[in-house]
């Protein structure tokens, strides 16, 4: 048990000293992208190879979370403590292991697998929430503590009042990273000021957008940072219980989080009376059963309560009537991962990154027709061009860029003419899309935009809970209308109906799913109307 800040720092120091004895470190990414290419087997083989070469004393093999460049998975990085040099190896296979072990003695021997970390993909990023990803072992709480983990929580409990925490978060201008962009500090404040015996902090890890894997990577790579962020939220708002709602399709994230919670409770950084401060905070995991709508705040809460995950009409807002009818803060994984750095470095530091109304960074998952698909973190205000061409490496096979879909099925398509758009909450909204949770699907010239709109509409159709009329029926009607355009059997009236119906569904649906479901149709209509006109046959 850790009883004080001093004891925490002592543990951190011991861990750091122990590690100093080991010169070399091989960090094998075991995030889902790398793991799906067998990186866990690679790690076991590496372990074995190091052991048989009698190098265990000077080299350690460590499992780490996502490095970002998923296109080149599996990734292994080699880090030398003395020189502080680190080398990244891409697309590592079993056959490379002897070379890799050799390279510990002679760094040039596996040069063909060498991945340049000075390339724009890495250099143009600003890492705040992904700071520890790819560096620490997500299964080892001591590794997190050695990287200053839980220090902010202990310091805050010792020296800050809850309202000071809220002030700091408010000053930082942090906004919800799940898509809505609501100011986190204001959300916390509204819950903090409600008098209630019970309050809840919920972490939304029900990432369901097609093509989005930001939160998954975060939960897999740095689970303790999320736990610490939740505990800080609990302290600020006066809550002593937290839930992490994770979709069951993320087994690795669930395993890492469960393990992290167990370790944190064992060390007493979570639980009753943390560091004798009088503040208690416990966290439990709840699994989602795969419904996209359960990422919506009210549906998520209903699901945690043990009911069918249907949304309900707001107001009442969660701050008045949330989980089990109690005041509740619901924050996205990435939002909570921003709490520790803000409180460590101060609101002014955070505010200095990003744009005026959107401070800090945003993690994006680059997917689709792009060279470097993977996970990237950039300062708010970075242009789409930088994201797609500089970091993403452009479109493969010499094809031309056509559009980028941001915000998943709730977002919209942004055409080439807006590539110099500086990405933040306001600019994306103005362009007819949304920030969303950070999925970015890049689309090349060969894609048909009506088919793309249909793909997302069909997704919303199959994910609609069926509670409210416009979403339940509207998404079906819209999907069938889009089919007519794809089959080139639409009429002028169909185009009018497509538009009118889109506005009705947007205007009158009960929750965010329905309200945003027509966005892909409306934005493709706005920028690629000619593709719809091609689907009209006047017979």
């Amino acid at each position: 048990m850790i009883n004080s800040l001093e004891e925490l720092e002592a543990l951190a120091n011991t861990k750091r000293c122990n590690e100093q004895n080991c010169q070399e470190e091989l960090r094998v990414c075991i995030g889902s992208s790398c793991a799906s290419l067998g990186s866990e087997l690679l790690k076991a083989a590496l372990d074995e190879a190091i052991k048989t070469s009698n190098m265990s004393a000077q080299c350690r093999v460590k499992a780490v979370g996502c490095n970002g460049l998923c296109a080149k998975a599996p990734l292994i990085s080699h880090c030398n403590r003395a020189t502080k040099q680190s080398t990244l190896y891409e697309e590592v296979q079993n056959a490379d292991i002897p070379d890799l072990v050799q390279s510990l003695l002679n760094p040039t021997s596996v040069s063909h697998k060498h991945c340049d970390t000075k390339q724009d993909f890495f250099a143009a990023q600003t890492k705040i929430v992904l700071q520890n990803a790819g560096i620490i072992d997500p299964d080892d709480i001591e590794d997190y503590i050695a990287h200053e983990g839980y220090k902010t929580l202990f310091e805050t409990l010792e020296s800050k009042l809850p309202n000071e925490v809220i002030e700091e978060i408010k000053k930082s201008g942090l906004r919800g990273r799940g898509g809505g962009g609501f100011y986190t500090g204001l959300k916390w404040e509204s819950v903090a000021k409600v008098q209630s015996e019970e309050k809840y902090i919920i972490c939304n890890g029900d990432e369901g957008d097609p093509g989005a894997f930001m939160d998954r990577a975060l939960m897999e790579a740095d689970p303790h940072r999320i736990l610490e962020g939740m505990a800080l939220a609990g302290y600020a708002c006066g809550a002593s219980m937290g839930y992490i709602y994770v979709r069951a399709e993320y087994p690795v994230a669930v395993a890492k989080l469960s393990h992290a919670i167990k370790q944190a409770k064992k060390l007493g950084v979570l639980g009753a009376n943390i560091a004798h401060s009088g503040f208690s905070f416990d966290i439990e995991i709840r699994l989602g059963a795969g419904a996209f709508v359960c990422g919506e705040a009210t549906a998520l809460i209903t699901s945690i309560e043990g009911n069918r995950g249907n949304p309900r009409q707001k107001p009442p807002h969660l701050s008045d009537y949330g989980l089990f009818g109690k005041p509740t803060v619901l924050n996205n994984v990435e939002t909570l991962a921003n709490i520790v750095p803000i409180l460590t470095n101060g609101a002014a530091w955070f505010k200095s990154i990003g744009t005026e109304n959107s401070s800090g960074t945003k993690v994006f998952a680059l997917t689709g027709h792009i060279q470097n698909s993977g996970l990237v973190e950039v300062a708010m205000g970075t242009t789409l061009r930088t994201l797609i061409y500089k970091i993403g490496g452009g479109i493969p096979d010499g094809k031309k860029f056509k559009a980028v879909q941001t915000g998943g099925p709730s977002g919209g398509c942004i055409p080439e003419s807006l590539l110099d758009l500086e990405v933040d909450y306001e600019s994306l909204k103005k362009a007819g899309s949304i920030m969303g949770s950070g999925g970015m699907i890049i689309i090349d010239e060969e894609a048909n935009m009506v088919e793309l709109a249909r793909f997302f509409m069909d997704f919303c159709r199959s994910e609609s809970c069926g509670k409210c009329t416009p979403c339940r029926v509207g998404t079906v009607q819209l999907t069938e209308l889009l089919d007519k355009f794809i089959d080139k059997k639409a009429t002028r009236n169909d185009l009018e109906l497509l538009q009118n119906l889109s506005y009705v569904v947007k205007d009158t649906s009960l929750c965010g799913l329905g309200q945003s479901a027509p966005n892909p149709v409306l934005s493709t209509l706005k920028y690629f109307e000619h593709e719809y006109l091609e689907g009209i046959s006047d017979d």
């Binding site: 009409q313 029926v473 079906v476 009607q477 009705v504």
Partner: protein, 239 residues
Amino acid sequence: MIREKVRVKSFKINGIDVTGASNQTILEVAQDNNIEIPTLCYLKGLSCVGSCRMCIVEIKGSNQLIPACTAKIKEGMEVTTDSPRIKTNREMILSMLFSERTHTCSVCVSNGNCELQNKAHELHLDHIQVPYHNARFEIDASHKNFVNDPNRCILCTRCIRVCDEIEGAHALDIMDRGIDTRIIHDMDEPWAQSLSCTSCGKCVYVCPTGALYEKDISDEEADKKRSIIMELLERKAQQ
């Protein structure tokens, strides 16, 4: 949540000054003042779910349309219940309700006593604005007195709520999602085999359409008794 004291609040509906208790909804105050707002899933005496979206209204200062049945009143708010925007939306929503299942009024036992049919009449909807969906659902006629025909269901969930909140049996619930959503008994058992159904018939009485109906009666004899909920609640209160 702190229980607030009930206070009187004054506000405007369609420019008319009205007052209500702070725990009342816009719909309740509108009804008290004889201001018509169309509803379908709402039934006095049951909890409000705001799912059919018929009762959407505009509130000055907000761009969102909200259902009057769930929105609590606020001092000084200005509510509009019938703007061109609301009218367009309501007509489309009603069209969608007609399109998703098979509402063939002429062969329905609720013909002439159906809230969906009445709504089309009230809103002057003489044809629907979207194509018919033509989905077929199996009819459950296993119960000795009642029939459940999902083809005529508008998923208002009144039956579920009355069974749960008034009868206390919770024999009904929903299954599947989106357009495939269905009202089921127990774990999707045939009605006759439902262990929790008490055969009280309240679900049939409150059903706005002919989805739940009594066997062996004609549309002339069908009696929906939708006011039974308030009668029961009043009698309970007197006990």
